[in-house]
Symmetry: C4
Subunit: 199 residues, 4 copies
């Protein structure tokens, strides 16, 4: 299961690069044109960070797993479906950045896709715990700690999808913030700063 | 064998996303245009589900395998050939949805591709069993149970290819139904419903 | 080394599908147009078979290997370079099929690419044997048998490149024949036929 | 971590091939036109060699690792981000080769990307050593030797980025030289030559 899943995570995140279009060499001010493409870069960054964050959660789950049953494999396939389709709303997000009405659609579809990725990650985990597929080597405290990390993110995504209907650009900024918050180890950074400024 | 095979399954299913085209931002009614693309989404879904189902069968086979001989590796390559080529008839299916004559061709080619994927999965399995490449740890009952799952699907595909010659759209709906039937664990869902409504 | 190598083999063979172009739905006779694309299908088939054959040889080598040194890893990278570039001459082959002069160039570049893939596979193997990186569990007879399979193919490729300068289409047919000869287990088929027709 | 990372390295290096465009068959002098594309081939070669070199360093690190903590996984994701994005400046490099002003931008962005790949490889390694994530089986001498290989390359990249601002084409040649220097085992070649010409 892991090689196939990791393959899909890796390919979906790498295929995103095909959306970055290089302006033709004949364009008068190439530097300016490249900078104007910042919405595309931002969409790329948000999607890469989101797939990265989903992969982190997924690899924790597969590490905790003792064995897989046939339903778990199928739930995993549905999760991978939503991972593999993410380049499409990412492309929409980049394409519709300067068109207010189209942007609302793009941001909503994008948010639903992120919600589906995180939702099925959560379902996968709850199923594994409920069916005792998680290795007994893991303490109950560890299992609970991981559960309490996964679930609140769902409520956040629902909230941001709502915000996106009113203010699409704010929602994109929030999606980036969520993904960066998970990827960048803020607590470790804060600890480091404290230690340096400490006695 | 597994890393290479899983790689091809993962890439073929993820490359499908490149077929989903985003309408230009200048299009008057973007939302409407996106909804009109439903045949493309459907074709994407059917192909993802079919590759997912083929991967499930393939991963059961590789798990049962004790060792591989050189003929098995070659049969596996032929199977992977038909997996890797599936994005092409998927693209045809999406492109020819509104053109009756072309659609018949697309649905037939698509069906033959699905038949080839399932047929070579079956051949791979029968070869492994016949040559005693299957691990002795598996009970004969398990082996027979898996065989009895693989083979009837071939007859179904032949039947649906025939239906597709007369009613192409019905055939597409049936291909989706077959793939969903394999991926969604219906029996588990029914069991769950029964238990909840039970005493 | 194996996950990275298998990944490149898998991606190079799957990316080939992007070259298969679906004629527009508005084309008068879609079926006819699809059949006219047979040179593209042929080029796809030859390249998939060649990568498959190269992967077979590569997976035998990695199985025989006991350990890798830094030079072996680098030789492997050069081999992977030529594998990953193969979709380019494949595309040339398909594009230039009906243009005699361009076709000669395409077939020659294609042949040189196949020669490089097979040549570096051979170099990789000879290096591993010379540096005693091959596991001692393998009998010397096995090692010699594999060597005697790898090397003659190089002479064949040089010969077919020469033929391609005079008769490009004959060379393509020969490349297909070579790849199929390696992939299809003819000896097993002949043995099967003999046994069935035997006493 | 390894399957996902190796997947991204493999896909990023193989996707580069999509940038190699085949001139239309109707072009008068196809051979000439193919030769004129040498900047694209060069950019492809430099990027493949650079990703190959980064993968070599990365696989040494994962081999030395005893375990991973959550910060290491995140640092690894940032590294993979810069690997997966490399096809974009590669494309820029090829596109802007004949336009002096645009080329300066392309070479600088490309250099910064290479610096980021090598910088995060170095950070990953230093973090692993500092946090004692490196297996105790490795001698301190080995660890120091690898460190002393990684770090000087950063200074080199900073220098070449500076050169690129003045003479972009020289910088590209230097990037190629660096990557080839790491990939081709020169010391082994020199040793071989010495031995042959020796007594």
């Amino acid at each position: 299961m892991e090689a196939f899943s990791d393959g899909i995570f890796a390919i979906a995140s790498t295929l995103l690069v095909l959306d970055l279009v290089v302006p033709a060499a004949s364009t008068p001010d190439v530097g300016q044109r490249l900078l104007e493409q910042w919405p595309i870069y931002l969409a790329y960054l948000v999607s890469f960070a989101t797939i990265g964050q989903a992969w982190l959660a997924h690899s924790v789950i597969t590490e905790y797993l003792d064995r897989a049953d046939s339903i778990l494999l199928r739930l995993n396939l549905v999760l991978l479906f939503f991972v593999s389709v993410l380049p499409y709303p990412t492309h929409m997000l980049a394409e519709y950045f300067s068109n207010e009405n189209a942007e609302r659609i793009a941001v909503t579809v994008y948010g639903l896709n992120l919600l589906a990725i995180n939702g099925f990650t959560s379902i996968l985990w709850h199923y594994a715990v409920a069916k005792h597929l998680v290795s007994q080597d893991n303490s109950e405290a560890d299992v609970r700690a991981f559960t309490s990390k996964l679930d609140p993110s769902l409520a956040t995504y629902v909230l941001v999808i709502g915000i996106g209907l009113v203010a699409p650009k704010v929602a994109v900024a929030l999606y980036l913030a969520i993904a960066l918050f998970v990827i960048i180890p803020f607590r470790a950074v804060i600890r480091l700063i404290r230690r340096r400024s400490g006695p």
